[in-house]
């Protein structure tokens, strides 16, 4: 009996020792590309510092929303990206459809398939700041930068990503363009742009008031205010449905799961909420200025995304006389 234990123990120790021997990252698995070895720089990121190629050619990104958006805006289409889990036809950010030809799916956003990432032979990986658990493995495939996402200030994030991939100047141009569009937005809407707009998400027994997100940052930049009742809020909060008065303003924007497919609207929390008498009491509801917005688009982020939202917003706010 004891002999078997000893043998088992030795076997396990041996296995661990044998394994440990070769796991030091002495070489990476990426394609042998001599030119990329000469020009490198060190960047600081959310999980430390990494030496990356100055001119990356094959990027894999682990965030198919904002970060993918930034890369495509810079004309640096990555060779691989994670995609939304589930059985959607189009796995990346909804607003990027048509611009992601050639991008390989490398697994789900929550659990990227490391074998596929390796198979894409990247020379740079852009990961999420919370992906600490696979950071070491990613670094063995290619230098990995954990983009420090704030999930609200997309201009800052855009500048960061652009700097990492060596396109800082182009980014500044695009941000200038974006500012121009913001100006245009403000001037065409005139007085309507001064509206008080609430952005909310509805759950079966509560409302989430959104503050400090990509959408609200964009609204602020566009000069659109939040209702005074929400001014004191620093970050998004959940409130009971009874507090519906808190969301009242000139316009209310409600995230909706799909594009308002009528047949199961009544089952959805959004449908129930919008039909609720308490909600009907709100000024915005009485004035008919409540709009369901497609969360596939509105729950995204990025610089291309921002322009699409602005277009949507013009339509939604411009209706006011």
């Amino acid at each position: 009996m004891k002999r078997r234990v000893v043998v088992l123990g030795l076997a396990m120790v041996f296995a661990v020792a044998a394994g440990c021997r070769g796991s030091l990252p002495t070489e990476d698995v990426s394609a042998e590309d001599p030119s990329s070895r000469y020009d490198t720089r060190v960047v600081k990121h959310a999980l430390g510092k990494t030496e990356i190629p100055a001119d990356p050619q094959r990027i894999v990104v682990l965030n198919p929303y904002a970060i993918l958006d930034y890369l495509i805006a810079l004309d640096m289409v990555p060779v691989g990206s994670t995609g939304g889990e589930g059985l959607d036809d189009y796995p990346f950010g909804y607003w990027l459809e048509g611009r992601t030809d050639g991008v390989e799916m490398v697994g789900g956003t929550i659990e990227p398939d490391l074998e596929r990432v390796a198979a894409a032979e990247p020379d740079l990986i852009l990961s999420n700041p919370w992906q600490e658990d696979i950071h070491k493995e990613l670094n063995q495939i290619a230098p990995t930068v954990a983009v420090p996402l704030s999930y609200s200030d997309f201009e800052e994030e855009f500048r960061y990503v652009a700097d990492v991939v060596g396109q800082a100047d182009k980014a500044e141009e695009l941000i200038e363009d974006h500012h121009d569009r913001l100006q245009a937005f403000k001037s065409t809407l005139g007085g309507s742009a001064d509206a008080e707009v609430s952005v909310i998400r509805v759950f079966p027994d509560s409302i989430r008031i959104e503050v400090d997100s990509y959408v609200t940052t964009l609204l602020d930049a566009a000069g659109v205010r939040r209702p005074p009742a929400q001014e004191a809020l620093k970050e998004s909060i959940d409130v009971s449905i009874e507090q519906a008065r808190l969301i009242d303003g000139d316009v209310i924007l409600v995230y909706s799961a799909d594009n308002g497919a009528e047949q199961d609207r009544n089952e959805r929390a959004v449908g129930k909420f919008l039909d609720h008498p308490l909600f009907g009491n709100l000024d915005a509801a009485r004035a008919g200025r409540v709009h369901e917005v497609d969360s596939r688009l509105w729950a995204g982020g990025g610089i291309l995304w921002a322009d699409m939202i602005l277009d949507d917003l013009s339509g939604l706010l411009g209706g006011q006389s």
């Binding site: 759950f203 308490l278 009491n281």
Partner: protein, 353 residues
């Protein structure tokens, strides 16, 4: 005079008719007090919340409606929620009483024995996998799920030597709950949208619940209550042991079937209306018994009144603790109910083995 019964309680033995009469009067008075308490808690449930409302406003909302926020909140949020709480609280408490009586097990309760889990899993499957939309459709799943759970848990807990002891039944219930929990997780992990909707439902809540669901299950709920209330005498006899009950002329097989039907109706209705809510079914009978003794003819009506008191109190607590957000009642009852369970386990001698 008091004598011990197999379910861990004691039974009073009256030494004179006068004695019995006095006890009856005391208990009837107690019942009236319980009704008063329930009415008060129900009123509090309508008044208290993230928006505090005065009693006067409550009355106005019904007799002098002016469409203000507060009136709307009373009529469309607080009152439906209170009504559901009354029904579900009563159903769960009475289901707990009947379960404890028929299994002679102080730990009998639809949530401990996995019955709630069975009903919940069936409903989640019906809504999210099979696409049932109307409550009248998926309510049947709740009953079917509850019934299957009863059968499985009882069979599993009775196997082996010693029959269905409390510990074995509790273990079977826990295993079934864990199994169904994994399957539910499997369902929601594969589809993020399902997860988003199902996770609220599975927390157990009387807020944000469809009143139409409650209205749909109400006939079944009332049937279950009615069946249970007339079983007082039978449960008393059963608690003395099957042999004694038979000797007293009872047809124990039939009684068990009726009891099981009642529990399935009550638990299934409660879960369909509010999702799985824990511990009300377990705790209420014990609290009631500690107040008025183990006579099921009295324990049943008292539990019917005190169950909603407990449930609504937990709900009110959930509204206050996290203002301006709310805590689901299922979470409150679990967090406060578990210590009750543990206390029961520590103090009850009848639970060895």
């Amino acid at each position: 005079m008091r004598a011990a019964t197999p379910d861990g309680g004691t039974v009073g033995i009256y030494t004179s008719a006068f004695d019995r009469r006095r006890a009856s009067i005391r208990r009837t008075l107690g019942l009236l007090i319980a009704v008063g308490l329930l009415a008060w808690v129900a009123l509090m449930s309508v008044r208290i919340g993230s928006v505090p409302i005065e009693s006067g406003t409550v009355l106005d909302a019904f007799f002098d409606f002016n469409g203000s926020d507060e009136h709307v909140i009373v009529r469309s949020l607080r009152v439906p929620r209170t009504l559901i709480g009354l029904g579900v609280g009563a159903a769960l408490a009475v289901a707990g009483v009947v379960t404890q009586g028929v299994t002679r097990n102080p730990l009998g309760a639809p949530d401990i024995l996995g019955i709630n889990a069975g009903a919940a899993f069936a409903v989640v499957t019906a809504i999210h996998v099979l696409g049932f939309v109307s409550p009248l459709g998926y309510v049947w799943f709740a009953f079917a799920g509850a019934l299957c759970a009863v059968v499985v848990v009882y069979a599993l807990g009775s196997a082996g030597s010693g029959g269905p002891t409390p510990v074995k039944l509790a273990l079977s219930g826990a295993v079934l709950t864990a199994l169904l929990g994994s399957w539910t997780t499997a369902l929601v992990v594969l589809d993020q949208r399902t997860l988003d909707e199902a996770r609220f439902w599975l927390a157990g809540s009387i807020a944000g619940r469809d009143l139409t669901v409650f209205v749909t299950v109400l006939p079944f709920l009332l049937a279950g209550l009615a069946m249970s209330l007339v079983l007082g005498r039978q449960l008393n006899a059963l608690s003395l042991g099957d042999d004694v009950a038979r000797a007293l002329g009872q047809r124990t097989g039939w009684v068990r079937i009726v009891c099981t039907t009642a529990v399935v109706l009550l638990a299934g209705s409660a879960v369909a209306a509010a999702g799985p809510v824990a511990f009300v079914a377990l705790a209420t009978p014990h609290i009631v018994r500690s107040l008025i003794g183990p006579d099921y003819r009295w324990v049943l009506p008292y539990s019917l009144l005190l169950g909603p008191v407990l449930l609504l109190s937990a709900d009110i607590l959930g509204r206050i603790l996290m203002r301006p957000a709310e805590l689901q009642v299922g979470i409150v009852t679990a967090v406060f109910g578990a210590p009750v369970l543990i206390h029961l386990v520590r103090s009850n001698r009848g639970l060895e083995a």
